[in-house]
């Protein structure tokens, strides 16, 4: 059934999950087809280490609305644009970040900063598109989102697990574009497990098997005459649903220890980070965790105290835990948003949208911890060294997880570069 899935995908997403994965995945995918079974009896750390040796994974922390670079990764204390906060030293020598991130500061040796981003885009939707596809929006063509791309490239082909799960960050089936519905995000709405994972009480295993067999036969008969992408989507949905039901254990979020809940916080974001940790431990390829909201046109500083006060500790705990469990070196972490915020403080004591000179943080797999790329001027209004855009970032993400970012997709036979060919990876932050 799963092998069939690979063949079918090739028909409309040519370039193929299978061939691309085999060709470009450089992180030991020989074991990719192995199921997650066989970890029984291992300790959590052992299981995690075994998993890490097999697979690269990615976690995106999406700070919705656009977090201020001046209150996070590129502080300018004492300047006209710097706001009221001070900069603090971190575990990375010579690297300072805002005092609003004291816990993250202790993990900076695992993170690299990109301080020279200029996406030239101040619109929420368009900025989000650039940061999640590596391209500017173009009429008539849609690039796949980061989660769908990495699900396509990094997920073991026969894995019963969804390749892309979004926790508290929303998501749309459109993100997968030509990569197909298998790589669309599974959105855990409200941070909850998908509904109806348990088999209905009135259904026995035997009856379910018979039911599936009948559906499959009817479907095959139908496809002999009228095979379309839609029929494949339907078939795949049934397959995915069955796979999810068989691995419903990954969505059992009821066993976090009191200590973990205390460390991560009882708020939604803390819980979502714990969920993401579990999903990564269980082998999900790409997890997107959302934290909202940073669109602080008014009272920027109060809201950043509040939002970053919630974000800082669980984010730092997540990095620390992944490191302790041996997962960090195989998991790329990206903390980003649609744009930064204006250096100029407005009359509402807020900051507005700013795509001209802003920052993100990346860490983990393939990243040189403590590295800093790019520089902005004294007041943060311009990039003065190593300007990069979404294309550079995409090349960097790809290469960090061992993929060749210069390869192409072939939807409908047309070559589509995976990352903008006019740009290249930010080598100075790659390990």
């Amino acid at each position: 059934m799963q092998g069939k899935g690979v063949t079918m995908r090739c028909n409309y997403a040519c370039g193929s999950h299978e061939s691309l994965t085999r060709r470009s995945f450089m992180g030991g995918t020989a074991a990719g087809a192995l199921s997650m079974l066989g970890f029984g009896g291992m300790t959590q750390v052992q299981a995690a280490k075994k998993l890490a040796a097999q697979q690269k994974q990615v976690v995106v922390f999406w700070l919705s609305g656009g977090v201020s670079q001046l209150e996070t990764w590129d502080p300018k204390p004492g300047t006209e644009t710097g706001g009221p906060f001070q900069a603090i030293s971190t575990s990375a020598p010579g690297v300072q970040i805002s005092e609003l991130l004291p816990y993250t500061a202790q993990q900076m040796h695992h993170l690299a900063l990109v301080r020279g981003i200029n996406t030239r885009e101040n619109n929420h939707g368009k900025g989000a598109y650039i940061m999640q596809t590596g391209r500017k929006e173009q009429p008539g063509f849609a690039y796949p989102y980061l989660g769908s791309s990495f699900s396509s490239h990094l997920s073991p082909p026969d894995s019963p697990l969804p390749g892309y799960i979004s926790v508290g960050a929303g998501g749309s089936s459109k993100e997968a574009t030509f990569l197909g519905p298998r790589h669309a995000p599974l959105v855990l709405s409200g941070g909850k497990a998908p509904a109806n994972l348990e088999m209905h009480a009135s259904m026995t295993t035997e009856r379910d098997k018979l039911r599936r067999s009948l559906r499959s036969k009817v479907s095959q008969r139908f496809e002999q005459k009228r095979k379309t992408a839609h029929t494949e989507v339907y078939n795949e949905s049934f397959d995915q649903a069955a796979a999810l039901m068989s691995r419903r254990d990954i969505f059992d979020f009821s066993h976090f220890s009191d200590k973990d809940v205390e460390r991560y916080g009882k708020h939604d974001f803390g819980q979502h980070c714990l969920m993401a940790r579990q999903l990564i431990e269980k082998g999900v390829t790409f997890v997107k965790v959302g934290h909202t909201n940073y669109d602080t046109h008014s009272e920027n500083f109060n809201f950043h105290i509040e939002q970053l006060g919630e974000f800082d500790r669980p984010f730092a705990m997540f990095i620390s835990d992944l490191y302790d469990r041996g997962l960090l070196e195989h998991t790329l972490i990206i903390c980003m948003c649609e744009f930064g915020r204006t250096p100029k403080i407005n009359s509402r004591v807020g900051r507005d949208h700013w795509g001209t000179a802003w920052s993100i943080a990346v860490g983990g797999a393939g990243i040189k911890g403590g590295a800093v790329s790019g520089k902005t001027n004294e007041t943060g209004t311009q990039v003065i060294d190593r300007e990069v855009n979404g294309g550079h970032l995409f090349h960097t993400y790809y290469q960090a997880v061992g993929l060749d970012s210069t390869e192409e997709f072939y939807p409908n036979g047309q070559p589509i570069a995976k990352a903008d060919p006019k740009t290249e990876a930010i080598k100075e932050i790659l390990a």
Partner: protein, 560 residues
């Protein structure tokens, strides 16, 4: 300066005495019950609030006299400075004339001596061409030639000396002319300043005359800007000290400003590392205590020429958002992002008591005029009344109308952004933003909530009379409870004036920029605001001087 402050302080005592006397001579039944009274009298809720007319402000005259005296002294000093500059300029001009004369003479001498030298040299040349053959004549001719040569050499040396002197004098002349130009510039500037100071002094004098003729009252209908003070960053907090000497303002930067209200001279107070949103001044001493967003509280001598922090204390984890000095000047209360209220001894800058109970950032603290109570307000509009002596929580008040959790943006918006207690201690008011429809754009209704101190009941929710949206950043009772003033804005700035207990303002003014704070001058006639456009503005609510009226008439005519 200290003496001047003492004079000012005695003026405040006089003001209080006038107030107290007024109370003592009136029979109890005739007392205007909503007027300012001695804060030590028993607290009593007054309902309904009487809508009294404008109160005469006897303290305005002595304040105006002091301003006029100060302006006159400054004008005199400026006149002296102008005279000094004029004298210096005259001296330099005389020196220039002298130099020019000497140069002229020297140049003439050079000319005549050059001609003489040329003649000698010509003669010498001719005599050498006609050498006599007779040996005796030849000897005589040689001697004569030798003498001429000597004369020529002497003349030549003299000429050299003269030319050097001319050069030196020319150099001196250039320097003196530069000095003259500089002095002219200085004199013109000083003259201009003197003209302005004279005008200002005349204005103060006119106010004195006006207030001598009739005790003034404050009327927001006469609201007008009378002075503006600029800084390099948006201004974030302001107050006028009890002596009425200074306009003080914190900024979105670490420098704190002290402007002399009469001379407009600015002194920057340096010591904090972050923004000063709240500070307070002593009522009877030149004490200033500032609290900044880096978490520190600083003590300053307001009258020092260049004040330096006398104490700099780490008071709160996170922002210090609230600072208030007790009426007797012995305590200072602070509040901050660590959700704590702290009481400190002013004298020793030592922590006396920590008041725990708020669950959210403390935005404002204020002592009741009796000194017995302290009130604090937080992000969620929770208000707490504390017993200063015991630290016991006495009461909670509900100000949650100026707070909201925005479920769209997942953020807490609002809080007690402004707070004040009336001088008689009968009312207190808080301000902020209510009815929020979009937290992250600051879209809501600027709101003031008036409470009755005795009962703790809400007396009024005061909002603008139009559809204006924004935050009400600050609120103040007029010293005589004639009205409540509040400031706020969003992208534009407003000042509103409400009668106590009324929901809608009886006057409102759009101002040049968004104001974040306000305060009344102790004369009750003037008020200041701290604005986003890096400017602190002083407004007058008292009667206009003849000069002001004439200027207004001229402006009106021009517009027509």
């Amino acid at each position: 300066m200290i003496k001047f402050y003492q004079r000012r302080s005695s003026l405040i005592c006089l003001q209080t005495a006038v107030m107290l006397c007024g109370i003592s001579v009136l029979p109890a039944a005739e007392k205007p019950t909503d007027k300012t009274e001695n804060s030590q009298l028993p607290l009593q809720a007054v309902k309904p609030i009487l809508n009294h007319g404008p109160t005469s402000l006897p303290a305005a005259l002595p304040f105006a006299e002091l301003d006029a005296d100060k302006a006159a002294r400054m004008t005199a000093a400026q006149e002296k400075a102008v005279n000094q500059l004029t004298a210096e300029l005259k001296q330099v001009e005389a020196e220039i004339n002298q130099l020019q004369t000497e140069l002229k003479e020297a140049k003439q001498k050079i000319k005549s001596e050059t001609e003489a030298l040329n003649t000698i040299q010509q003669n010498l040349k001719e005599s050498q061409n006609k050498k006599p053959e007779d040996p005796q004549n030849k000897d005589q001719a040689d001697d004569s030639a030798e003498a001429v040569k000597l004369k020529a050499e002497t003349l030549s040396r003299e000429l050299n000396t003269l030319e050097q002197q001319v050069k030196q004098r020319e150099q001196s002349l250039t320097e003196k002319q530069k000095q003259q130009a500089e002095l002219k510039k200085q004199a013109a500037a000083a003259e201009k300043q003197l003209t302005e100071q004279r005008a200002k002094a005349n204005q103060f004098q006119e106010f004195v005359k006006l207030f001598r003729d009739q005790q003034p009252t404050a009327d927001p209908e006469r609201f007008r800007e009378v002075a503006a003070f600029s800084h390099s960053r948006p201004l974030y907090s302001c107050k006028i000290d009890a002596s009425g000497n200074y306009l003080l303002a914190g900024a979105q930067g670490s420098a704190f400003n002290r402007w002399d209200l009469v001379s407009a001279e600015n002194t920057e107070l340096l010591g904090h590392q972050s923004w000063v949103r709240r500070f307070d001044v002593g009522r009877a001493s030149p004490l200033l205590i500032t609290g900044a967003y880096e978490g520190k509280v600083a003590w300053w001598n307001l009258e020092a020429e260049q004040p330096k922090p006398q104490h700099l204390v780490t008071a709160h984890k996170g922002y210090v958002r609230a600072v208030a000095i007790s009426p007797d000047g012995s305590l200072v209360a602070t509040g901050g992002n660590d959700c704590l209220v702290k009481l400190w001894s002013v004298k020793e800058a030592k922590l006396i008591r920590t008041l725990s109970g708020h669950e959210h950032q403390v935005y404002n603290v204020k002592f009741h005029p009796s000194g017995r109570w302290l009130i604090s307000g937080d992000l969620r509009g929770n208000l707490k009344q504390w017993d200063v002596e015991t630290g016991k929580l006495e009461r909670d008040f509900d100000g949650s109308a100026i707070y909201k959790y925005d479920t769209t943006f997942h953020g807490h918006i609002g809080g007690v952004r402004g707070m004040d207690i009336s001088r008689d201690g009968k009312y207190f008011a808080i301000s902020g933003i209510g009815g929020v429809s979009n937290a992250f754009a600051g879209i809501g209704v600027p709101t003031v909530i008036l409470f009755d101190w005795a009962t703790g009941k809400r007396l009024a929710v005061m909002t603008p009379d139009d559809n204006f949206k924004g935050t009400c950043w600050g609120v103040r009772f007029h010293p005589e409870n004639d009205f409540i003033a509040a400031v706020g804005g969003n992208s534009s700035g407003m000042i509103w004036f409400w009668k106590l207990g009324e929901d809608k303002p009886f006057a409102s003014e759009k101002i040049k920029s968004v104001p974040y704070d306000l305060d009344f001058h102790p004369d009750g006639l003037r008020m200041c605001v701290a604005c986003f456009d890096k400017t602190a503005r002083l407004y007058h609510l008292g009667p206009e001087t003849p000069a002001e009226l004439a200027a207004a008439k001229k402006t009106k005519a021009k517009k027509k």
